[in-house]
């Protein structure tokens, strides 16, 4: 996995609560058997005026001028500001794949759905929770100032505003280490292969019917 240490990135505001994974990447794009290439279809139904299907040339599709990410001032954004319960719904990992492929490396919001939150960490995308009043203010500041950037320092667990004001955030210690080092979780787990085998053997002895 790609490591995440620090980021100094342009911020884009997506001012909606309960953004679901069907909105992040619609189902027709889930037919791909690849992990990459989802970026052009991120938020497809909001982003384009026509209906998107796999295989279309997205560069010639008509963009929805009202959708925030289509404003030129947010081109190249790497940090997405979000609202409550971002990523709710389906478990599709295509959602963080699409965000990552588009260029987002971090999300800042108030809360995330569990499965989506977990999936982000597996892909080097950092979902950050900050208090609602701070997020409200970041939305207002970001919308008022073109080119608004934030710095994120994962080791220090801080989001830093341009004036130097820092906001601490919580992150699970193990997940933080994995992100900072870009560790492969499967490799980490397989270091405990003997313990897994021992557990499996005792479970099989006690409950053979689970192992048919």
């Amino acid at each position: 996995m790609r490591a995440f240490t620090t980021l100094d990135g342009l911020v884009a505001p997506l001012d909606r609560a309960n953004v679901d994974t069907d909105a992040i990447i619609p189902k027709q794009f889930l037919k791909s058997i690849q992990r990459s290439g989802f970026g052009p279809n991120l938020f497809d139904e909001w982003r384009y005026l026509d209906h998107g299907e796999p295989g279309m040339d997205n560069s010639i599709r008509k963009l929805n001028p009202d959708f925030v990410l289509n404003q030129s001032r947010y081109a190249g954004a790497q940090i997405l500001l979000t609202r409550d319960n971002f990523g709710c719904g389906s478990s599709r990992e295509h959602a963080p794949w699409a965000l990552d492929d588009y260029g987002f490396r971090a999300l800042i919001g108030t809360s995330y759905a569990d499965i989506f939150f977990n999936n982000c960490f597996k892909n080097g995308v950092l979902p950050i929770c900050l208090p609602a009043d701070v997020v409200d203010r970041l939305f207002a500041t970001c919308m008022a100032h073109e080119g608004y950037r934030l710095k994120i320092d994962l080791a220090a667990q801080q989001v830093i505003e341009p004036d130097g004001k820092a906001h601490g955030f919580d992150v699970d210690g193990f997940r933080k280490e994995c992100l900072l080092n870009g560790w492969d979780e499967i490799g980490l787990t397989l270091r405990h292969a003997d313990e897994i085998r021992a557990f499996e053997a005792s479970r099989k002895a006690a409950h053979p019917y689970y192992f048919r």
Partner: protein, 470 residues
């Protein structure tokens, strides 16, 4: 004396392989359900890393999301869908599995229907699948939840997941349900009460006399939608209804082994005095048939209610969400739910495609006709076995006589990855689980309801109380 434990705590502690000081644990996975959409990248990752699957006898696989529900003899027309299904075929052929029900197999069906009906879902198991509705299996007192594709690969490679323990939330529904009120109405009412993020970070346990009175099919409907309340896992304790359901299922133990297993399974309940992080109590008798009006499952009303007015909402983010939902749904505040006309009806999905659901829909459809204004009523059984059972009871004939379409099993119009979908602007009464924008087709408008209410809407042409149909 040992401290009283919740069901979740029992399931968790019986699967911990190891635990670090910070609480990060390796959890052993008993059953791995696999379907075509979320597995190809995991199998590929495994292969690229030169790893072998840890225990293929944990795998039960089927193709469900992309498969067509009619003209099976023509195969899968969409080449990208076909490629995904063929990729699953190739992967399972290569690595093996306990059971594989491919496209056109007589036991093929929705992964969350076939697991339980084949006895591949057993109490006390950990069950995972790259699908958020894996919570369904919690109806059997399994610790069951959806995972992403990276975790599918992790389970394939290690038979484990890295997790921290969830908090516990008991939703206690006591009393008797009114006639015509079903498990679907109960779970929609719960989501309306606690919200779509109300269960985030929790394992939900559904208890109380109204839950205990439900069949396994009803319990699966409830646990299926735990994820729509934000909880990855929903749980219901084992009782005799659970044990009876499992007898004689192909992958369940038999004979003395069944009895020994059942003795253990009966311990899979929360102990008296067990402490939950949170408890929500609901009165079953107060629950009416439910219909969603918006683009989130928490946007739900009684059938006798009206579309709410965003202006009455104080929270500005919620108000904006409601206004956007009403605009998308093409609804005006104050409109009675019963006056909302529907264009199509979908009876199916991992929420409501089991035999009991089809019986409930058929009971309403029997001797009646679909309204002329309704373009299509799709009835999609959850599996080949459900289909066969329904046909043996003559339910297919009831549906066809009423002008409904009787289809082959699959996920179908729940998420519209196959050809079954809404056109932009069309309104659907659907027994599925998500009313998100575009879920059933770009621009489509979804109202979530029970099978009985879906059938009633098909007959009346608009939402209607079953009792009020002529």
């Amino acid at each position: 004396m040992q401290q009283a434990q919740t069901l979740y705590e029992k399931l968790w502690s019986s699967h911990v392989v190891r635990q670090d000081a910070d609480g990060t644990a390796l959890i052993y996975i008993d059953r791995h359900l696999v379907h075509e959409v979320t597995s190809p990248q995991a199998f590929e990752g495994l292969k690229l890393a030169g790893r072998k699957p840890w225990r293929v006898s944990s795998i039960v696989a089927t193709a469900d999301h992309n498969t067509p529900t009619d003209h099976w003899e023509e195969g899968i027309k969409d080449p990208i869908s076909r490629q995904q299904v063929e990729t699953l075929d190739a992967n399972i052929r290569e690595v093996g599995s306990l059971a594989y029900f491919p496209f056109k197999d007589e036991r093929q069906g929705i992964v969350h229907v076939i697991g339980p009906e084949n006895g591949a879902t057993l109490p006390g198991m950990t069950v995972v699948c790259g699908d958020s509705h894996t919570s369904t299996h919690g109806a059997f007192a399994c610790l069951a939840h959806g995972i992403g594709t990276s975790e599918v690969e992790h389970v394939l490679a290690t038979q484990c997941l890295m997790q921290k323990k969830s908090k516990t939330l008991l939703i206690k529904v006591d009393g008797d349900l009114a006639p015509g009120v079903t498990a679907k109405d109960v779970v929609l009412a719960i989501i309306g009460r606690i919200g779509t993020a109300g269960g985030t970070g929790y394992a939900l346990e559904f208890g109380g006399s109204a839950i205990r009175a439900l069949s396994m099919e009803g319990r699966m409907t409830i646990c299926n939608m735990a994820i729509e309340a934000g909880a990855r896992a929903g749980l219901i304790a084992v009782d005799e209804t659970t044990i009876e359901y499992l007898k004689g299922r192909p992958y369940a133990p038999a004979g003395d082994e069944f009895d020994r297993a059942a003795t253990y399974w009966r311990t899979l309940t929360s102990d008296a005095g067990a402490v939950y992080d949170k408890v929500v109590e609901m009165d079953a008798a107060a629950i009416r048939p439910q219909v969603t009006w918006g683009t989130s499952p928490e946007m739900v009303s009684d059938i006798s209610g009206v579309v709410p007015d965003p202006a009455a909402e104080k929270d500005p983010v919620k108000r904006e969400g409601m206004s956007r939902a009403l605009a998308y749904m093409g609804l005006k505040a104050g409109t009675p739910i019963k006056r909302i006309p529907v264009d199509r009806v979908f009876i199916g999905s991992c929420t409501n495609s089991r035999i009991e659901d089809l019986r409930a829909a058929a009971a309403v459809a029997k001797g009646r006709q679909k309204a002329d204004s309704v373009k299509q009523v799709l009835v999609v059984p959850g599996s080949g076995l459900v289909k066969r059972q329904a046909e043996s009871e003559g339910l297919d004939k009831v549906f066809v006589a009423a002008g409904f379409e009787w289809r082959e099993p699959g996920c179908s119009m729940c998420l519209a990855m196959n050809a079954d979908r809404l056109e932009s602007g069309e309104r659907c009464a659907s027994t599925s689980n998500r009313n998100f924008e575009g879920r059933q087709g770009a621009g489509g408008r979804t109202h979530l309801v029970s099978p009985a209410l879906a059938a009633a809407a098909a007959i009346a042409g608009h939402f209607a109380d079953v009792a009020e149909l002529n």
